[in-house]
């Protein structure tokens, strides 16, 4: 099972909106509403930001939103802040291989 494809880096100025894509196949992203997104600051554990494509856990800012079209899921961060600078990973349920989950390649978000 290959990793889901994400852009290596995305950047934006404070206050702007950015979108990170996560492309898979019909066996993972396209086949299930089971995409989640994780934020990881340097030296820290990943933190859940979005689950089931578009739901936000309690405590996560509503500046973070998720969507999906076909085999591609997206994470949008609006009103970009310096604290949003981090690595972001998507994760999807998959039927292609055990353990039935696959991460994306990761995207470094830089706030200019």
């Amino acid at each position: 099972q290959s990793a889901l494809t994400q852009p290596a880096s995305v950047s934006g100025s404070p206050g702007q909106s950015i979108t990170i894509s996560c492309t898979g196949t019909s066996s993972d992203v396209g086949g299930f509403n089971s995409v989640s997104w994780y934020q990881q600051h340097p030296g820290k554990a990943p933190k859940l930001m979005i689950y089931d494509v578009s739901y936000r856990p309690s405590g996560v800012s509503n500046r973070f939103s998720g969507s999906k079209s076909g085999n591609t899921a997206s994470l949008t961060i609006s009103g970009l802040q310096t604290g949003d600078e981090a690595e972001y990973y998507c994760n999807s349920y998959t039927t292609s291989s055990t353990p039935n989950y696959v991460f994306g390649t990761g995207t470094k978000v830089t706030v200019l």
Binding site: S34, S36, Y38, L48, Y51
Partner: protein, 119 residues
Amino acid sequence: EVQLVQSGEEVKKPGESLKISCEAFGYTFTNYWIGWVRQMPGKGLEWMGIMFLGDTDLRYSPSFQGQVTISADKSINTAYLQWSSLKASDTAMYYCATARDGTTYFDPWGQGTPVTVSS
């Protein structure tokens, strides 16, 4: 509050064995899945395997099958990741993470256990 607390940093030599732990607080252990994730220095997240704590369902990534052993002691709400013979290439940060049965997202995560294997 659901929380996972992992064991501390490990420095080992090639060929040595190792068992790291992940203790769960604040929830009924047996209704959850535990996953182990590897992050090599400067690299992305990789699933190693997941285990359902309600029965014996255990799923390894093909890349890690036979290389590590995932287990759990439900009496003390603790999951383990074990190596019988470490290699330098096992140097990485290892995270545990939990998912309630019936969901497909992992939250929370442990703080991570750094493992260094060097002669």
